[in-house]
Symmetry: C3
Subunit: 132 residues, 3 copies
Amino acid sequence: MNTTERARLLTIYVGESDQWHHRPLFVEIVHRAHAAGLAGATAVRGFEGYGGTNEIHTLRLLSLTEDVPVAVTIIDTPERIDAFLPVLDEVMTGGMATVEDVDAIHYSARTPAHRFSWGLSTHHRDDLPASS
Amino acid sequence: MNTTERARLLTIYVGESDQWHHRPLFVEIVHRAHAAGLAGATAVRGFEGYGGTNEIHTLRLLSLTEDVPVAVTIIDTPERIDAFLPVLDEVMTGGMATVEDVDAIHYSARTPAHRFSWGLSTHHRDDLPASS
Amino acid sequence: MNTTERARLLTIYVGESDQWHHRPLFVEIVHRAHAAGLAGATAVRGFEGYGGTNEIHTLRLLSLTEDVPVAVTIIDTPERIDAFLPVLDEVMTGGMATVEDVDAIHYSARTPAHRFSWGLSTHHRDDLPASS
């Protein structure tokens, strides 16, 4: 069984080495999304890319370095995503994010014992809070 | 030369270790998309993430584990994507998918000998049907 | 501080081994986006996927091989993305791209010394122009 609902997709672009108070920024973002009760967050590592000044608005000058870009994708209702943007704003000192409206399909477990797990593959779990 | 058309983008979020009848679920999904004749499917591995209960609808409780999240992106016409959703529903016992409308630009080969290849990089090809 | 603006998201799907004049095609695309002054480009490597003929329009026959799919995501204003499409068309002999409208949030640096860096993780920097 599944249900469909309007949702909002927030994608946040940061560098893998960007830090927030001695913690990787993307970890802080996933932590804050989790603490805010958002439905899910996925971090994907790019392997090549750049950023730069452009005419949308004045941005800082970006340079090509060895830093790997990371895109964190967060999905939830429009209201919950909008409520999260000020929380995100606190830790973003550069970079960008995109917001778009999508339809979200939620699938239900058929067997009570089924557990759908996402998780840490490359980073210490100490950085994340205990499961809520 | 290229042509542009309205298309629908389906992104399916599963755990890399999720299984369907002893086969990785994301492989089953790519298999089913291929069998349904959908234009293309790409699986991307996230390296950090979580899911959890939220207020959109009641979902199973998710936990942080070592499972890596995988996002499978499938693009085709709205009609073909809609026709695929019941096929997808058969194998999804949890998790979520998003659907959004986009413009798709299709590029034509200039030389008849050009072959554009996508393919398996990390998994046995035995799991996939012979090319249709 | 941040600013929000309508933006256009261009995602280009190629094979990692696709070439343009003896250079990897995805590198050429990132190079051209950078030369065109586009705000940013991120290449993400898929690890499984396929493409094939379908009924949207006649495409070349694709086969399953060991080639890894790469998705290059480029974000900028609608006008600048539209101006880039003919530049992209010159190097695309197959495959596809999607275009969708999103809201883009641009974050400002709080400290003048902050540098947001994206960069090369796996490829020689010789292929890219000096920072503009």
